[in-house]
Each structure stands twice: as structure tokens, then as C-alpha cells.
Amino acid sequence: MGSLKPADSEGLGFLATRVDELINWGRKNSLWPMPLGLSCCGIELMAMIGPKFDLARFGAEAARFSPRQCDLLVVAGTLTWKMAEAVRVIYDQMPDPKWVIAMGVCSSSGGMYDSYAVVQGVDSILPVDVYVPGCPPRPDAVIDAIIKLQKKIERESPVRRLLKGPGVIDETGTGRNFKQPNFAFDHSSLDLHPHDPKAKIEELQK
């Protein structure tokens, strides 16, 4: 506390930065996760919240299954395009301020499921704050992600955000003005998958 200077406090004065620090201190130590266990990673998420790894030490153990009561979305598992609409609605229903952790390689990048059904990284549909690699990541790794997120929250500037009105946020936080990456990943640039029928089809069409 106090060692980090809020990122954009110019012109708002000493008081604003103190209030920022107070608000950030409260926010970062009482994250309420929305446990979105979509597949196997959900089990590690449960272990993390349970007594052995004890997420309560970091103030984030109050998992709620209503998005209205949460401010941390943990996407734990393989996100399919069919599920993507539901996840986006959950994210939209969470009140600001809100943060997202992409837990596991599946939600970070699609992981081993380079497939027609799987979203190649939840950042295709949501802004993500912290990515956690691993398949599944150990609970310690996710706890580390939460500590990283707490560091990130420390640098946000809620007062400035309040004064500027809705829709304007500081660059370090997430919110409404993220850039949505495009899924249009060019598979043709890759070597053909051994089972890819493309070569055969082209050969037949000749």
C-alpha cells in the first residue's frame, strides 16, 4: 500500500489519490468470484476455494452463483461457441467494476481444442485481465493470478473514472472500451493438419 503511484492522478490532487487508494484497497481485498466452471478446470477452481488452498486468505472466497453479486469472472474451462452467448450475458450482468481471469489454456487460447466448436481464447468475446496457463493450472497458479489482479486493481483510478462519467475508464482497468479481437484466424497460413481434407478436395477439383 502506498508504494504504487496511481497511474493517472494528474490534476485531481492529493485527496483524489488517497480516496483511490482506499477504494482500491477495499476492492482488491474483497473480490467476489463468479465460478464459471465450464469443464475440467472447474475442479481445480473448487480445490482453490476449498480449505486446503484457502482462497479466503486473499479475500476472494465468497463465490456467488449470481453474476449480480460478483466482480471477478473466472472462466475455468473450455468455452464453446454455443456457450459463448451465455458467458457474454453473465459478463454483461456483472456490475462494474469487474475483472476477468482466463483460467487454463482452453480459456486462454483454445488450448488443444483447435476445433470448429471451441472459442480460441475467451478474449475473442470478453476483455481478459489475467491469463493463467496450465492444463489445468494448479490452484497455486490461480492464486498467483489473483494476487497479480490485486496488483492491477491497485493501479486503477476509480475517482477519475467517477468524475469522467460512465464509459470512460483508465487504461489499466477493464471495462467497456476494450478492443474486441477478431476470431478470423487464418488457418491457411498453417501447415495442413494430417486429417485436413483440404488437400484432397483441391486435388479432386483439379
Binding site: W81, K82, R88, P166, H187, H195
Partner: protein, 172 residues
């Protein structure tokens, strides 16, 4: 009951119909029947041969051969403790076979899955919707000419997202 008895029972049930016995590696009694009579074959297996349970409806895509799809049914009889498999070959253009949901109502989901993955229509199915892929998806993922990376996997989501943003305004 031995396999020979199964074969005799099935042959008796299918009297007067053309079918061909196929050797398979798993040793299950396998009949290859022309697609025109497949419905009669299924009715006889259900009624006369007493196969109470449908355990599988699926297909194999033989692309680029023509006729293209093998449709495969597997049945189980509790009384006789034996199984039978029926195969038929259908064309790739507008593929369709008759449904068997009126005989084995449990076949409903298998037929829907087969339709979802291969685009084979089961004529007479009461509710032939996609099962696994989102409604509105227009391609069939288990066909051999479906590319590994998929075709427009995100189109339906993007359309939904654009509509949502238009409704909710710039802050959505």
C-alpha cells in the same frame, strides 16, 4: 444362444428381402441392405426378430466415393442376448433415410445427432433439430469435406453480439 442361431433367426425374419452378410472384425452379425428396403428390414427386426433396443444410429462418410454415406444401426435383443448391425449406402446428394423412431423411440437423439453431424435427414422424425451444434448453423462437422478449423464457427455468436450491441447502445 450362439451367433449361428442369431443368423438363422434374422434370416427367417428377413425372408424374401435382399440382404448381404458382411464379415466384420468385431464378429457382430452385420447386414448390408439396399436403401430402398431398409425400412422394411428395420420393421422386421423389431417385430419378428425381437430386437427391443436400438443402441446406435450413426453414419460413415466415404467421401469422395459415391454413393457417399454408410448409415449404420445397431440393435440389441434382451431375450436372446444378441446384437445385429444394419448398414445401408446412400447418395451424397440430399441424403435421407426413413426414421425408426416409431419403432424404437430411443433412436430419436441418435438420429438427431446423426443429422447434426452428417446432414442426413431421417424422414418422418417428429423433431429433427440439431442436437449439439447451435440451431442455425448451416454446416455438418463430421463430413470429410468439413475443414479441420471449421467453417465460420463464430458467425452465429457475432450476429447475436451485433444485435445485442444495436439494442443496448454504445455502452454494451
Amino acid at each position: 444362444m450362439t451367433a449361428t442361431n442369431t443368423r438363422e433367426r434374422v434370416a427367417a425374419a428377413l425372408e424374401g428381402l435382399t440382404f448381404e452378410l458382411v464379415d466384420t472384425r468385431d464378429g457382430m452379425l452385420t447386414l448390408r441392405v439396399p436403401s430402398a428396403t431398409v425400412r422394411t428390414v428395420l420393421e422386421r427386426l423389431h417385430g419378428r426378430a425381437g430386437f427391443e433396443q436400438n443402441t446406435l444410429v450413426t453414419a460413415v462418410d466415404r467421401f469422395p466415393e459415391e454413393p457417399r454415406f454408410d448409415v449404420i444401426w445397431q440393435f440389441l435383443s434382451y431375450d436372446h442376448n444378441d446384437r445385429v448391425r444394419v448398414e445401408t449406402r446412400i447418395s451424397g446428394a440430399n441424403p435421407s433415410v426413413p426414421t425408426c423412431t416409431d419403432l424404437w423411440s430411443g433412436a430419436s437423439f441418435s438420429e438427431r445427432e446423426c443429422f447434426d453431424m452428417f446432414g442426413i435427414r431421417f424422414d418422418g422424425h417428429p423433431d429433427l433439430r440439431r442436437l449439439l451444434m447451435p440451431q442455425g448453423y448451416t454446416h455438418f462437422p463430421l463430413r470429410k469435406d468439413f475443414p479441420h478449423g471449421g467453417i465460420e464457427p463464430d458467425r452465429l455468436y457475432r450476429e447475436w453480439d451485433a444485435k445485442r450491441r444495436a439494442e443496448w447502445g454504445a455502452n454494451a
